[in-house]
Point group: C2
Chain length 201, copies 2
Amino acid sequence: MSESIDFYFDFSSPYAYLGSHLIEPVAQKHGREVNWHPFMLGVAMKGEKTFPLTQYPLKGDYSRMDFDRTARYHNIPFIMPDEFPKVTLAASRGFLWLTDRDREQAVDFAKSVYAAYFVEGKDISDPDIVAAIAADAGADRTAFLAAVQDPEIKDAFKKSVEEIVFERKVFGAPFFIVDGQSFWGADRVGQLDEWLTTGGW
Amino acid sequence: MSESIDFYFDFSSPYAYLGSHLIEPVAQKHGREVNWHPFMLGVAMKGEKTFPLTQYPLKGDYSRMDFDRTARYHNIPFIMPDEFPKVTLAASRGFLWLTDRDREQAVDFAKSVYAAYFVEGKDISDPDIVAAIAADAGADRTAFLAAVQDPEIKDAFKKSVEEIVFERKVFGAPFFIVDGQSFWGADRVGQLDEWLTTGGW
């Protein structure tokens, strides 16, 4: 069986949201599974001395324009949230807990969290809001809320983020690793597609 | 007549070098001229608090790999120079002086400077080396060397860089502006092409 595509994302990243839409048809075309890995972009930013895109003096305005223009270019629904960025620990820990139980349910949950933030403008830093999304995906709401506060799960997520950033060297989002190749950015999905088609160049 | 495509670049930027190759067929396809504008990426970086890509702890290694992989993807000759980045004031001032005399000659010169750095590994921060390139493009070597030290040309280039960065809000390279739309990055040439084809979305 072919290797899956590792997809690293932060629930608060507009380009990772766009990337989550763009990678799907490419993965299907090549018969590859997408392995979703939430992480905290903030941890990578600290080491890299970078900031959320919208906070740069000039790049900030450009980015807001480009999120929107690129979403329309690809026909992906997108409304820039008023409050940006969000710390999305509850959603990320919840994803980790869900994925141990039911991977498909976890991916449904992740897609719904993205739509809640980048289409419906909901506050996805609020554990109650993400718990409701988890419940819609079929999870137990109370168990979900307990899980996102569970020290074991907190620790597992922290370790996972450290491994992602410092061992797999994932410094931005979206970030894809497949067949040993790293691709950073929604705008590298085209090269990733071509890499899987040709076997590399 | 259609508006030309303003192309902002730094002689030391690998992605701007790639962008200079990618924009040509797109401009030709749409019957648009490419207006080359050298600037100092360092001025933008100072305001944005960013650094040359290769200096980031994790993004640095990725960038070196991606310059090369992206060049091969597009079949553009590219060898990462050992010394990077370079301060390319002489080449930029020389371009400004040349472009006032003969725009086509200036563009030939710019392309040759890019090839000298990113294919032949020459030191394009050295005024003598860029003067030899200018002479190959048909300019007078002695007059070129005098021009790059001329206070009026120094001042004109300084003012041009400030206008490019602070008024046109060009914070990175390559940066393209056409029909009022800004496109940052070699990986936005596809959207630029589509914008000119469709009139926008």
